[in-house]
């Protein structure tokens, strides 16, 4: 029976100290690995006969401007359809050099999801066959989902961050 403890144990056997930050929010195993080995981890999860995470449900990024050196998180949601187990896998990257290896060789579905992630966060997927903007116009010269681009008009005083319970951190 495939469960979170077993997956954790297999990952620890294979990658040792490199996979870290195991969590289980809402019972979904979440872990982190250095971005250099993201493809190795995905390949291992794909190939291992007991794990078989062969369906890429979702791929996107999150921007944490305060995490110096690891501002961008690329999040993979993987699914083992037979055992019906989902896991979440994260890699963090420096925003000044946001290079992450592309998973397109393993999952065809990663193609547009990586383009979308590039389009909105500027994650540079190394090895992607056609990394260009997908939803925004080609001429756009910034990555709009990053937190430094606030949604509301900055001259307004009635909609500052205090109104959203966050103080004035960014």
């Amino acid at each position: 029976m495939l469960n979170n403890d077993y997956i954790k144990q297999r990952l620890a056997e294979k990658f040792g100290e490199q996979v870290t930050n195991f969590e289980e929010p809402f019972n979904m195993l979440t872990f982190e690995a250095p971005k250099e080995i993201n493809l190795k981890v995905l390949q291992f999860l794909f190939d291992d006969e007991t794990l078989q995470f062969r369906f890429l449900t979702d791929l996107q990024a999150v921007h944490y401007p305060d995490n110096t050196g690891r501002e961008l998180a690329v999040v993979y949601h993987l699914h083992n359809l037979q055992a019906n187990v989902r896991i979440r896998f994260k890699v963090y990257t420096d925003i000044s050099k946001p290079d992450v290896f592309s998973a397109t060789a393993l999952f065809m579905s990663a193609n547009w999801m990586e383009r979308e992630t590039y389009d909105f966060f500027g994650v540079n997927f190394v090895g992607h066959p056609n990394l260009k903007r997908i939803l925004n116009v080609d001429e756009m010269d910034y990555f709009p989902m990053r937190k430094e681009f606030p949604l509301e008009d900055q001259t307004r005083t009635d909609k500052d961050d205090d109104m959203f319970g966050r103080g004035k951190s960014y």
């Binding site: 809402f26 449900t57 065809m108 579905s109 939803l135």
Partner: protein, 411 residues
């Protein structure tokens, strides 16, 4: 410019006169695409050599907007993803919020939601399948079933007041109880619709012309479909029995008996059959759910929302007469409720695949990050592969039978 030759007054890219293939723009506003997206096809005669899809014409930055909206203001954004089955998106969002907040909804709410979600699934499949008919030259079926989509929309209207972009329900349940008229309309639908669906199937399923147009058009193997991230009816048509309603039941789907229809070849015909079968299954689920709803007696039969004062608006009467209700009303409307910290991925079975909500909350009043897993954005990538070598007219029915919704693709 060096890469351009001058041909009278028209500037053409170099090589375009000697070229033996034709470049054709299918879309972005071609009626056959049923939505705003473009396919640049390279044709040899009528045969497709390659294609390139462009999406994003109606991108509305929902994920960015959601970072500045309290939970209840995000519901109308989800309407505009797959607008053919907006209630499923709404319910999926409410279920995501409820899971994050740890709200337990009463059974009656779950069953009422199931009724609405399955109606939405029927209306979505109905449009998709009858559009496949239109694209093959059979307009009758489309007009014939349209009345019943209208009836479904009347039910939505009776429940929530709107028809297409429904904003139906609230975090915790429904904004008001179902009226007797809503149930009457539902009964009317359950009584009349099976006959219509049967007739629709008689028109199409064994129709020789229709079959020859669809069989073998745009096939995909189960393995490729999984690799391309297919979900929903399109994946099931390829033979994989994956359905979120069964794998990770939500809204009490575990209380219902239904089958998951699967196909074998994953071509347009299988997709058509799977959708038709799913409509029968949805109908059966609606009947079961209605029986269960009718079985509630007394005070239980009046329950239509969970007790979540922080997120569910108090009744107007209370707001005018009670201090607490007034405070909650104000706080909810102004979006002054802090959401608990958490990270959550919640999938529901949308009408065209697994619709997922990836929500990260940092304890503020709005999501820190919200991502929609939009099924047709992901599986539309396969269009190039499955239409390679096909005829141009096949590409059109592949587009409609994949059930591509521009609103969902472009977020």
């Amino acid at each position: 410019m060096s890469d351009v030759i001058h041909h009278k007054n028209i500037r053409l890219p170099e090589g375009s006169i000697e070229k033996t293939t034709t470049t054709l723009n299918l879309g972005p506003t071609h009626p056959a695409t049923h939505g705003v997206f473009q396919n640049i096809l390279e044709l040899d005669g009528e045969r497709i050599l390659s294609s390139e899809s462009t999406v994003g014409y109606i991108h509305r930055a929902f994920e960015k907007l959601a970072e500045r909206r309290p939970l209840y203001q995000i519901t109308p954004l989800t309407d505009r993803l797959n607008y053919c089955s907006a209630p499923i998106n709404n319910m999926g969002w409410h279920l995501t919020c409820e899971k994050l907040l740890g709200v337990q909804t009463p059974k009656r709410v779950d069953y009422l939601r199931v009724i609405i979600m399955e109606l939405a699934r029927i209306s979505d499949h109905l449009i998709c399948n009858s559009i496949v008919g239109v694209d093959t030259g059979a307009f009758t079926g489309f007009l014939y079933v349209m009345q019943y989509r209208e009836l479904i929309y009347e039910i939505y209207e009776e429940v929530c007041g709107s028809r297409l972009t429904t904003n139906i329900g609230r975090v915790g349940g429904f904004e008001r109880n179902f009226t007797p008229k809503a149930f009457q309309l539902l009964e009317k639908f359950m009584a009349e619709y099976p006959k219509v669906l049967k007739e629709f199937e008689n028109l199409f399923t064994r129709n020789r012309i229709f079959m020859e147009r669809l069989i073998g058009a745009g096939p995909i193997s189960a393995e490729r479909a999984l690799n391309y991230g297919f979900t929903g009816p399109n994946l099931r048509a390829a033979g994989v029995d994956y359905d979120v309603r069964v794998h990770t039941p939500y809204s009490s789907y575990e209380d219902f008996q239904f089958d998951i229809p699967v196909g074998t070849t994953g071509d347009c015909y299988d997709r058509f059959l799977v959708r038709n079968q799913e409509m029968w299954q949805s109908l059966s689920i609606i009947e079961q759910a209605y029986e269960k709803v009718k079985a509630f007696k007394g005070a239980e039969a009046e329950i239509y929302h969970a007790d979540v004062p922080e997120y569910y608006l108090p009744s107007k009467g209370d707001v005018y007469t009670k201090m607490e209700a007034l405070i909650w009303h104000f706080k909810i409307v102004m979006g002054e409720i802090d959401i608990p910290k958490g990270e959550l991925y919640f999938p529901v079975e949308g009408a065209n695949g697994e619709l997922g909500y990836y929500l990260i909350s940092d304890g503020g009043r709005t999501p820190y990050r919200l991502h929609f897993r939009r099924p047709c954005f992901i599986y539309y990538q396969a269009f190039e592969e499955i239409t390679k070598g096909a005829m141009l007219s096949d590409a059109v029915i592949v587009l409609s039978s994949l059930n591509l919704i521009a609103g969902e693709m472009d977020a």
